[in-house]
C-alpha cells in the first residue's frame, strides 16, 4: 500500500484572515519541521554525498569513503544492466497502468449504475488494495507455480502450461499481471468518485438527443472525467515506478534480471552487492524521474493549491 495525499480539497472561503498564529503556530509546527529535516533532509543529502563516494560495507566500520566524483554514475550507466532495468521499468509501468486504468474505468462505469448490491460489491473489491503487498505477491507466486499453480492447472486443460516465473520471457508479464490486480481497486474507487460528480442531467439530455450508450460515454463521461483521469494516471505513474514489494516477492528481480527495475536494482546494488555508492546513484536517477512526473502532477493541482493556501 502506498500513501499519497494531496490535501487539496475545495475549501471554505474565509473572509476573516488574521495572522492570529504568530509564534504559537511555530510551536505547533516544530515537531514536524524537526522530523522533516532529520528524516528527509539529512538522509537525502547523505544519499547525494554517498553517490559521489566509494561507499562500501567497510565504510561503515572505518568511516572512510573516498570521494570519486561521478564515477558511480558512470559505472551505473556503463553497466549493461542499466538498459535492462530502464526497459523493464518502462514496460512494467506502462503495462500496469494501461490495464489497471482500463479495467478500473470499465468497472467504475459498471458499478456506477444503481443495482441491488452495487455498493457492497464495490467495497469488496477494495480488499486487494488493502492487503499487504507481500501477501498479494505470495499468493500470486503460488498461483504462478509451474507444477502446482492453479493458472497452469487451467492452462493444461486447453493448452500447454507456461513456465511463468522460471522463463525470462514470462516473468515480466507475471509481475505486471500481479501489479494490475493490485492496482485495479484504486483506479476503480477514484474514477467512481469522478463519475458520481458528473451531473445526471447531462446524460438525460444526451439520451433525449438520441445518443447511444457508447456516444454518451465518449461525449459526456470521457471529457468530463478528464481532470480525474489525469490525476489517477499521474499518481499511478508515481506509485508504479517505485514498486518494490511485489517484484521482490514474486520474482526477486530474476530470473537472470528479467524483472529487474530501477527500484529493485538500486536495492540489489546497495543491499546485495554492498555497493552503496552505486545504489545511491541509481536511487538519485529514480528521484529525478519520479519528481519530474510528480511536478507535472502538482502543476495540474497548482491552481487549486494556490487557491487553498492563499
Amino acid at each position: 500500500m502506498t500513501l499519497t495525499a494531496t490535501g487539496v480539497r475545495a475549501e471554505r472561503p474565509t473572509t476573516t484572515r488574521r495572522r492570529g498564529g504568530g509564534y504559537a503556530g511555530y510551536a505547533f509546527l516544530a515537531p514536524v519541521l524537526l522530523y522533516v529535516v532529520v528524516f528527509f533532509g539529512y538522509p537525502l543529502v547523505a544519499n547525494l554525498v554517498m553517490s559521489a563516494q566509494d561507499y562500501t560495507v567497510r565504510s561503515f566500520y572505518t568511516g572512510e569513503a573516498p570521494f570519486v566524483g561521478f564515477a558511480n554514475y558512470a559505472a551505473v550507466l556503463a553497466n549493461p544492466l542499466f538498459t535492462t532495468a530502464v526497459l523493464n521499468t518502462v514496460l512494467f509501468t506502462v503495462g500496469s497502468i494501461a490495464f489497471q486504468f482500463g479495467i478500473g474505468l470499465a468497472l467504475a462505469v459498471f458499478f456506477s449504475g444503481r443495482f441491488l448490491g452495487s455498493a457492497t460489491l464495490r467495497s469488496l473489491l477494495l480488499l486487494p488494495w488493502l492487503l499487504p503487498l507481500v501477501v498479494s505477491g505470495a499468493v500470486w507466486r503460488w498461483m504462478f507455480d509451474q507444477d502446482h499453480g492453479v493458472l497452469n492447472a487451467v492452462l493444461r486443460l486447453v493448452d500447454a502450461p507456461v513456465p511463468w516465473l522460471t522463463s525470462t520471457e514470462w516473468a515480466l508479464p507475471a509481475v505486471v499481471i500481479t501489479n494490475i490486480w493490485i492496482g485495479i481497486p484504486f483506479n476503480l474507487v477514484v474514477l467512481h468518485g469522478g463519475l458520481k460528480a458528473i451531473p445526471p442531467t447531462l446524460y438525460e439530455a444526451a439520451e433525449l438527443d438520441g445518443a447511444s450508450g457508447w456516444q454518451r460515454f465518449r461525449f459526456v463521461t470521457w471529457p468530463l472525467l478528464r481532470p480525474v483521469t489525469g490525476i489517477v494516471l499521474m499518481l499511478g505513474l508515481v506509485y508504479t515506478i517505485k514498486v518494490f514489494d511485489v517484484i521482490m516477492v514474486v520474482t526477486g528481480g530474476g530470473p537472470a534480471n528479467a524483472t529487474q527495475t530501477l527500484t529493485t536494482w538500486s536495492y540489489a546494488l546497495s543491499f546485495r552487492d554492498f555497493a552503496f555508492g552505486q545504489g545511491a546513484a541509481v536511487g538519485n536517477l529514480l528521484i529525478l524521474v519520479a519528481t519530474a512526473f510528480g511536478l507535472l502532477y502538482l502543476r495540474s493541482l497548482r491552481a487549486t493549491l494556490a487557491e487553498a493556501a492563499s
Binding site: 499519497t4 495525499a5 490535501g7 487539496v8 480539497r9 475545495a10 474565509t14 488574521r18 492570529g20 498564529g21 503556530g25 505547533f28 515537531p31 514536524v32 522530523y35 522533516v36 547523505a46 554517498m50 561503515f60 468497472l107 458499478f111 443495482f115 448490491g117 452495487s118 467495497s123 473489491l125 477494495l126 480488499l127 486487494p128 488493502l130 499487504p132 501477501v135 505470495a138 499468493v139 503460488w142 498461483m143 492453479v150 492447472a153 474507487v189 468518485g193 469522478g194 490525476i231 499518481l235 515506478i241 517505485k242 514489494d245 527500484t263 538500486s266 536495492y267 543491499f271 552503496f276 545504489g279 536511487g283 529514480l286 519520479a290 519528481t291 512526473f293 510528480g294 493549491l305 493556501a309
Partner: protein, 268 residues
C-alpha cells in the same frame, strides 16, 4: 431479467477476488494435497495444520508488526495533528511552502529513503530497533496524515477556535479541547492508514533489520516464500493471518477507508 446486473457484478467480484479464495483454500489443505497434479478446488480434507505452523513460526513476527504499527500510529498522529492545526487554523508564514514540501517528499521513492536511512541508522544504532522502524515508517505516514488532517481542519469554522480563545483558553487548550474532538473522524482515518501502511511495510523492514533481533511479518513471509521447497500451506496460512487487519478494518471502518483512499485524488 431484473437482477442481471447484480449477477454480472457478483461474477466480476468472484473473478477478481479469486486469488484471495485461493489463498484461504491453500491455507486449509495439507501440504501433500497441494502438490497433486490437479488442484482441489475446495478444502474438503481441511486441516488447521497450516495455522498451527504459522502461529508457531510466525507468531512472534505478527506481534512485532503489531507493535511497530501501533507505534507508527502514535508517532504519526502526535507529530501530524499539531502541525495540521497550525497549517489550517493559525495561518503561519511559510505555511504554503511546508504543504508543498510535504507533497514533494511523498514522491520520493521508498528505496531511496531506505538506502539513506540505512547509513544514518547505522550511525545512530537504530538498525534492528523497533524505534528505528517506527520512525522510518513515519516518513510515509506523517506527510500523508498532515495533508489529510489539514484538509479537514481547514473546514472547521474559525469562529469555533476564536470563541475558545476569547473564553481565555490558550492555543494548546483550544487544540486539545476543541480541534482534536471535532476532528475525530479525520484522526481515525489518518491513524487507520498509518496502521495499515506500517503493518504492510516490507521495504524498510527488510533493509533496516537484519533478522537477528526481530522480524516484522512481511519479512517473515518473504523469507518463508524464498525457501526453495516452500511450504505453501504454511505460507498461505501466514498470509491469511497477515491479511486479517485489512479485512477487519474494511468491515468495521469502511467509510474511513474510502475517505482515506479518495483523499489522495478526488477533489470535491
Amino acid at each position: 431479467m431484473r437482477h442481471a446486473r447484480t449477477v454480472a457484478g457478483v461474477l466480476i467480484v468472484a473473478v477478481l477476488l479469486f486469488p484471495l479464495y485461493w489463498m484461504v483454500n491453500a491455507s486449509l489443505q495439507p501440504s501433500g494435497a497441494l502438490l497433486k497434479p490437479s488442484p482441489d478446488w475446495f478444502p474438503v480434507a481441511g486441516t488447521l495444520d497450516g495455522y498451527r505452523k504459522a502461529l508457531s513460526t510466525q507468531g512472534g513476527h505478527l506481534l512485532s508488526s503489531v507493535l511497530i504499527a501501533l507505534g507508527t500510529v502514535v508517532v504519526s498522529l502526535a507529530i501530524a495533528a499539531p502541525a495540521s492545526y497550525a497549517l489550517a487554523q493559525l495561518k503561519v508564514r511559510g505555511g504554503t511552502s511546508i504543504v508543498f514540501a510535504l507533497l514533494i517528499v511523498q514522491m520520493i521513492p521508498g528505496i531511496v529513503m531506505a538506502n539513506s536511512l540505512y547509513t544514518v541508522f547505522g550511525n545512530l544504532g537504530l538498525i534492528d530497533s523497533y524505534l528505528g522502524l517506527v520512525l522510518a515508517d513515519s516518513t510515509a505516514t506523517i506527510p500523508f496524515a498532515v495533508l489529510l488532517l489539514r484538509a479537514f481542519m481547514v473546514s472547521i469554522p474559525r469562529e469555533l477556535s476564536e470563541a475558545s480563545r476569547v473564553d481565555g483558553a490558550g492555543h494548546w487548550r483550544t487544540f486539545f479541547s476543541i480541534i482534536v474532538p471535532v476532528s475525530r473522524n479525520a484522526m481515525v482515518t489518518a491513524g487507520l492508514f498509518s496502521f495499515l501502511f506500517a503493518w504492510a511495510d516490507f521495504l524498510f523492514a527488510v533493509t533496516l533489520t537484519t533478522g537477528q533481533a526481530f522480524q516484522p511479518i512481511t519479512v517473515g513471509i518473504y523469507r518463508f516464500v524464498g525457501n526453495q521447497s516452500a511450504d505453501w500451506n504454511g505460507v498461505m496460512a501466514t498470509a491469511v493471518l497477515a491479511s486479517v487487519p485489512a479485512a477487519v478494518l474494511l468491515v468495521i471502518a469502511q467509510r474511513f477507508v474510502v475517505a482515506g483512499l479518495t483523499s489522495g485524488a478526488v477533489k470535491d
